[in-house]
Amino acid sequence: MEKKEKHHNKVESTRLIQGIVKDFYESVNRAPHEGRKVCWCVGAGPYELFKAMDIGHFQTENWGVAVTSRKSEREMIEESARAGYSSDCCSYASINIGYALLMQKGRIPDHLSPELRVPKPDFLFCINTCPSMAQWTEALREVFNVPAFIMDVPLFYDDHDEAHYQRNILYAIEQLQEAVAFLEEITGRPYPWERLKEIQTYIKKAAIVRKELFELWCHKPSAISYWDMAIALGAANVFRGTPEAVAFFTAIRDEVADRIKRGITTVRKEKHRLLWYMNHPWFKVGHLAEFFARLDAVVVGGQYVIGPYSDPERIDPDRPLWTIAEEHPTRPYVRTMKYKIEMFMKALANSFQVDGIVFHAPRTCRPNSWDHFDAGEIVKRELGIPYIIIEADHTDPQFYSEAEVDNRLQAFIETLPSHHKE
């Protein structure tokens, strides 16, 4: 049996993310020495608000991904557990709170990469996109005793009520205005609106490139996989709004276009195309990419790695707060189950022409995986596409059993031909 040969032909330009990550976190670490404030942002927040004020900021989940990708999470999770946080708490939070607690004891883990040894926050920003976020922020506030701004994300409980939609957008804008006042107070400076517009212009430029990339992404056979897009995700998320992010996506788009032109594919013999739903075990991205490819299968697409600001039409730098507020309704956690099924499962399943759907149910993220079974059954009934649910975790490897997960996934792939229409 062949074992050593690489089967997943990754998009080379995604490697450029390593430099972007390093530069980003080094800039955060320099902030206290340069007299800049430091913000820990819990949740997928409006980072451009901080960037415009030259505040050293990072997203606690993105930082957790970087920690677990370097296999450095264990000591921090254990520190959280010692403080009484259940192992069922969101593992992003466990890692981050554990780090905060260790920091207070003056014990930053030796094995943690220097760029990930982020400084203490001057303030916290929270966007409560799931039930853990506000509590997580409170836990950090207890440790650091610093101000915190908690932004309440409105839920869109009616997919068709335009008035309800507009009320939610206004509600978000009002809170963003309060956030701006909060930042002015923290920094003692007036808000630099022109700089915010400039950053949003870069976000728009990146979104235009990404839109072109999304079209190439759907190509059959696949020239760029879900896993490649997962590696690139940070540049659309917390690292966004820079010329480097625009150049990064341009390089990926051009490479993928070239691959399609030259007939270069993700796997040599693509037999099965799959959609991935929900986040994924970040510490197993390389393994999973290779695992599927070895079985002539490609996880082609998934909502999670589309990330924020995917539609350039919704980005208007002349209306900066409206732009930020308008971004939130594009996310699954503020939407109804019906909307998620239509937009993030059925529509994507059709666009990517998939044979099956893999649902990831993270052990420490039940708020975003409780509906997998019903959603899977509905998609199966309406589109005839089979699904499987695997239980693992996004950033806690103790909830990942490789033999169990691999066995279920392989068995699922082996059943796919029996679903093909004759």
Binding site: M1, P386, E391, S401, A403, E404, N407, R408, Q410, A411, E414, T415, P417, S418, H419
Partner: protein
């Protein structure tokens, strides 16, 4: 032409060798132990002896089970889900649902008329409802595992075992023994606890007759009866239920050997 299927599970390693008409000519079963690679080799060598052939006579070897990636002389590997489906179909073509209770997991598999698995459901990451669960309970009751089935038939009532965690259920059993409850009734309760748990998996994929049971636990008549009662259907029980996966692997291996032969 001969083909072989090797199924390396958590407790036992099984080999089945078939001839060019897919008839079983040799089989063997050994304990997996700590060295699954060696267990695969031993079971293969034993099956060759039974068949009276040498390894060079075997055109294609296909490995399955949890240790399937650890069989260097196998040409390919597939999951036990696919192999159980094919093995069951080979023995009983009318099979549409399989209940497989092995050493460390239990599963329900839907099978189509061609012997392909179309859907499956497995137990979660714990040993509840598996052969290992029964082993632990036998130890707690100080009886031989192989006798549990016949002993449960002497039961007049069922002692409910509510916990499905193997360790906690063991405590329940110890407690029931301490209360002086009839061991036959306790065993009966254990079997029904397994049947209830496994029937949930079966109902998830859909109970479509006929239902075949494979895996070592199919030799336990008490569990079989409890499942039949729970699912309200008579189960098909192969003569050697532990060999179904290896047989399926051998049948698939034979098909591949034929394709290979026709293309050369």
């Amino acid at each position: 032409m001969f083909a072989a299927g090797i199924d390396i599970g958590s407790l036992t390693a099984k080999t089945v060798i078939v001839d060019d008409r897919a008839r079983i000519v040799g089989h063997a079963l050994v304990l997996t132990g700590a060295m699954s690679k060696r267990a695969g080799e031993i079971s293969f060598e034993s099956a060759l002896k039974v068949a009276g052939i040498s390894s060079s006579d075997v055109t294609y070897v296909l490995a399955t089970g949890y240790g399937r990636n650890n069989v260097p002389f196998a040409k390919a590997e597939m999951t036990e889900i696919t192999c159980h489906a094919r093995g069951a179909h080979h023995l009983f073509p009318e099979t549409r649902t399989i209940i497989d209770i092995g050493g460390q997991d239990s599963k329900a598999i839907s099978v189509n008329e061609r012997g392909a698995a179309t859907n499956f459901m497995m137990n979660d990451k714990c040993a509840a409802g598996s052969g290992r669960f029964l082993e632990v309970m036998a130890r707690a009751l100080e009886i031989e595992l192989d006798r549990m089935g016949e002993l449960s038939l002497q039961s007049t009532k069922e002692v409910p075992i509510s916990s499905m965690c193997t360790v906690f259920a063991e405590s329940e059993v110890v407690s029931a023994v301490a209360k002086g409850l009839d061991p036959h009734d306790i065993i009966n309760g254990i079997h029904h606890a397994i049947a209830k748990r496994v029937s949930v998996l079966v109902e998830h994929v859909g109970v479509k007759e006929r239902v075949l049971m494979s895996g070592g636990v199919a030799k336990n008549v008490g569990v079989v009866r409890a499942l039949e009662k729970q699912l309200n259907t008579a189960l098909l029980i192969p003569e050697d239920p532990q060999l179904v996966g290896a047989l399926g692997a051998a049948v698939i291996a034979l098909e591949r050997a034929r394709v290979q032969a026709s293309s050369t």
